[in-house]
């Protein structure tokens, strides 16, 4: 997976997972995205994106312990792989390069 092009929502999901670190699973990722971006992603879109990122090798997942408030269902924790970190870094660098020198209100430029 040398050069993974990431869509906007994929980048948002990857960044939310990186922020959450060990606590990243469906419900917390969704809450993090809602809290930081103000948009409430549809669960269908989020889980499809998580599956796609895992298929691309940018995420890996593991099942946690079943808990009572989830009706005895396990959490599926996700973690960004080294390839995922590489892909998100590249995508963000591209954004930063494009932003550089563009006067947008509320953004500071290096």
């Amino acid at each position: 997976m040398a050069d993974q092009a990431l869509g906007e929502f994929e980048q948002i999901v990857l960044l939310a997972i990186l922020r959450l670190d060990e606590r990243a699973y469906g419900a917390t990722i969704r809450e993090e995205i809602a809290a930081k971006t103000g948009r409430d992603p549809s669960p269908g879109a989020l889980y499809t994106t998580l599956a796609r990122l895992e298929e691309k090798g940018l995420l890996q997942s593991r099942l946690g312990e079943p808990t009572r408030d989830r009706g005895g269902r396990a959490k599926r924790f996700v973690k960004v792989t080294a390839e995922g970190i590489d892909a998100i870094s590249r995508a963000q660098r591209a954004y930063r390069n494009l932003l550089h020198g563009v006067p947008l209100p509320g953004l500071s430029h290096g």
């Binding site: 809450e31 549809s42 269908g44 879109a45 889980y47 499809t48 808990t67 408030d69 989830r70 959490k75």
Partner: protein, 207 residues
Amino acid sequence: MDRGRIAEWLLAPALGAARASWVVGDLLEGAVGRGPRWFWGNVARTWCGAPWGDLRTRPLFCLGLAARGALLLSAWLFLVGRGRALVWDFVRTSLAHSRFLAHHPKEWLWPAVTAASLLATVHAGRWVARRAQGRLLAVCAAMALVYPLVAFGFHACWAACASLGPAPDLPVPDFGRFLYQAKDAGFIAAFLLGVALLRRPGGAAAA
């Protein structure tokens, strides 16, 4: 039966059994303090959103499987049609002395043909469901798009081949027939969904 099991049963065709389990767990957890309306609203959003996402991200898989399923279904229905024609020819020539059989073909052939067509549809549905890898709803949606084209092509090929022989007994495909097949596709997509949903909630899912 608790709402989690019902939701899991509803979401299994859209997400696959394993994914549906932890997605429902997430939704149950999120519903604490928000109520059943939030929970069911999100089940509905997941149910609608997942097939669309699968169609966008795995179009070749969904359309390819739908095309193969449509081909299988067309072949089955074609065989049912041929079987009906053979039986009817046999009855006309060999059992002409029986007034009822010879003069009321629809009455006695219809139940058998309908049953055979339904069995063929169920078989095609299960064949697709076993291969859908948790994307059954997306494949059903793709099937609704693809089936009219495949069935139309199938009939066009048959009519072209039959016209080389002595007596073509199928009508030449036209746009009216195409629309007729398109009308069927909605029924078939719903039927495939019915096949997938014919499972005990919370039990092992085929999809």
